[in-house]
Amino acid sequence: MTGFINSLGVVLYATLVYTTPLLYAALGSCFSEVSGVVNIGIEGMMTAGAFTGTVVAWATGSPWIGFLCGGLAGALFGALHALATVKLGADQTIAGTAINMLGPGIVIMISKVMFNSTDTIPLTATQKIPKLFTGLFDTTTVFGRFMDNVFATYASTYLVFIAVVVVWFVFYKTRFGLRLRACGEHPQACETLGINVIGMRLGCVTISGFLAGLGGACVTMAISTQFRPISIVGQGFIAIAAVIFGKFRPQGALIGCLLFGFCSGLKVVLGGSSGVNMQLLSMIPYVVTVITLVLFVGRSHVPSANGKPYIKSK
């Protein structure tokens, strides 16, 4: 029993930690997709954020300045995507693919110049995103250790769960959210009612870049301590998958991200100790997603105007 509770604590800890970056990126993806812009460039934006966050934290010694700069770097690429797709009518998939090449390309190149290596210098403990509530629980008891495992976790994890609530509130309880969703469903109608569709979309895609950048920064500043070219690989796409899984709703994306996070967590805990093949174990989250989709989720409603460039009528 004690062993089980310990393991459960470790699994929950890993779940939360691995969910965090995906969730930031997924919330970002929600902003972009719901406003009507396909943002496949999340991956590139995360990579930009991961590198920038780590380097700034390393240079300034402050994890929070680094974290913020990670977000801003993502926002920069978000703005680039917004400029191309919203202002210039570019094909959203093509522009996103370009972002996915440019983001990693540029930051790895900078890394080569700064550190003469594709990896950055590892952060020290004080430069990493701090853990909250450490030492609050009495780790000599089973229950205390469980609580310590689960709740004494990175500040970025607490932040992202607050962010989910905030984004949900913004989407469904504010005027801005209503307009945002309307832009993705019927931009022409919005324009008729005096809503600035172009402006809304520019803003939302930039916000999506910012959140993706924060997500990337979590990977390199909390889970690991340094940026490497393979830090992000694939996580941006997983975040997009989580959003589609969650039917383009922040609360749905939360469940999708938790699913992936839980499977990653399980992998970390089971890996090595048990006789289960690591490769097959790694496959689980993807297989589970497909099965869940077939059995429970099915057809998802894509915002009607998603992917279609909006040309303002003169």
Partner: protein, 370 residues
């Protein structure tokens, strides 16, 4: 009408010019980055050009290009039919693994049988991998982009799993499969390579790529199937109204696209790789295929040239560190090229703004690509 063409007309109508301009801008942006880093663009680009303009270098480019061309054709074919095959990556991986398994387990089958067997095996498995996704979409309405991303990862881990199986895994310490049998190898004879001074992995994969290019062009442009698929890509509802079975078209398109991506995997393995490593992250041939398809405007001939261009950049890029420039420069250049191709629709848009009367300037559906 003999109206004089304006510059804008020229720019808006000529896709080839868009691409050339984009490539130029890509190198320009690359040069700016080089200058910021305190490196000489002249030196770096000179190195890039030097490494691909001699016989040996060029033969490397050709060898490198083959998987990119075929993966590019795969994605281009899916684009034509309105499906975005982001799953090419997974189809590539399962195709390569199938060819590897056949090439390892049947070492004594003679070359003229084994090579086609590997091709067919990889194409069948690649097609199945694409069709699962299409089936999920048709049967349960599962978003294809989502399931493709999932199947990319499933393919990746499946490949790693198979590579670790006894009988497949290398006998040595390498984290990889055994080498495929010489009978499954497409590499030209060693003596010939030495005499002609070609790349050490010089192979005849490019001929396969050319044949595939011609077949795809023929299917798209000259057959009923191609017409139906294009009709579905252009307007699903109109096609359905016209009596085309949309679901079947999606299934066919993804099957063909998947088969091509699978074949690309086999070509890469049998031409260059010889074995499959256990990777820690996706190799990205399928994603490169997307880029190549975009640069080639989804036109089979365009994709062929784009694939060669991409192969040249990848090979040339691997030599860049000799002059102190980071290899990643290539990604920045290609990313910029794709970015400018994406926004080149602005020319069409500008033209429409200029032409259309101010009062009712509603663009026709075809004016701006969606």
């Amino acid at each position: 009408m003999t109206k004089k063409k304006s510059v804008l007309d020229f720019l808006s109508e000529n896709t080839f010019i868009h691409i050339l301009l984009s490539i130029l801008l890509g190198f320009l942006v690359g040069a700016i980055f080089l200058l910021i880093m305190g490196l000489s663009p002249e030196k770096a680009y000179g190195r890039l050009l030097d490494s691909v303009t001699n016989l040996k270098g060029f033969s490397y480019v050709v060898v490198y290009s083959v998987p990119y061309i075929v993966a590019g054709l795969s994605v281009a074919f899916s684009f034509k039919t309105g499906v975005f095959n982001i799953g090419a990556e997974g189809q590539f991986v399962v195709g390569a693994m199938t060819a590897a398994v056949i090439g390892i387990l049947l070492p004594d089958v003679p070359k003229p049988i084994l090579i086609p067997l590997c091709f067919i095996g990889s194409m069948v498995v690649g097609a199945l991998w694409g069709m699962i996704v299409a089936f999920f979409k048709i049967k349960w309405g599962i978003n294809e982009v989502l399931s493709m991303i999932m199947f990319n990862w499933i393919a990746f881990y499946l490949s790693n799993f198979i590579a670790g199986l006894p009988g497949i895994h290398s006998d040595g310490s390498a984290e990889a499969t055994k080498n495929i049998s010489d009978n499954a190898s497409m590499v030209l004879s060693k003596d010939f390579i030495k005499q002609a001074g070609l790349a050490t992995t010089a192979n005849w994969g490019i001929l396969v790529a050319i044949v595939i290019m011609l077949i795809i062009w023929f299917v798209i442009e000259k057959t009923t199937l191609g017409y139906e698929l294009k009709a579905v890509g252009a307007n699903k509802y109109a096609a359905e109204y016209g009596g085309i079975n949309v679901n079947r078209s999606i299934l066919t398109a993804l099957a063909i696209s998947g088969a091509l991506a699978g074949l690309a995997g086999a070509l890469q393995l049998m031409g260059m790789g010889r074995r499959i490593s256990i990777f820690s992250s996706q190799e990205g041939f399928g994603f490169a295929g997307i880029v190549v398809a975009l640069m080639g405007c989804s036109n089979p001939f365009g994709v062929f040239v784009a694939g060669l261009f991409y192969g040249a950049l990848v090979y040339g890029g691997s030599k860049l560190n000799l002059v102190g420039a980071p290899t990643q420069l290539i990604n920045v250049i290609v990313g910029t090229v794709v970015f400018f191709i994406a926004i080149s629709v602005i020319f069409r848009y500008l033209k429409y703004l200029k032409r259309a009367p101010k009062s009712s300037a509603q663009p026709r559906k075809g004016d701006v690509r969606s």
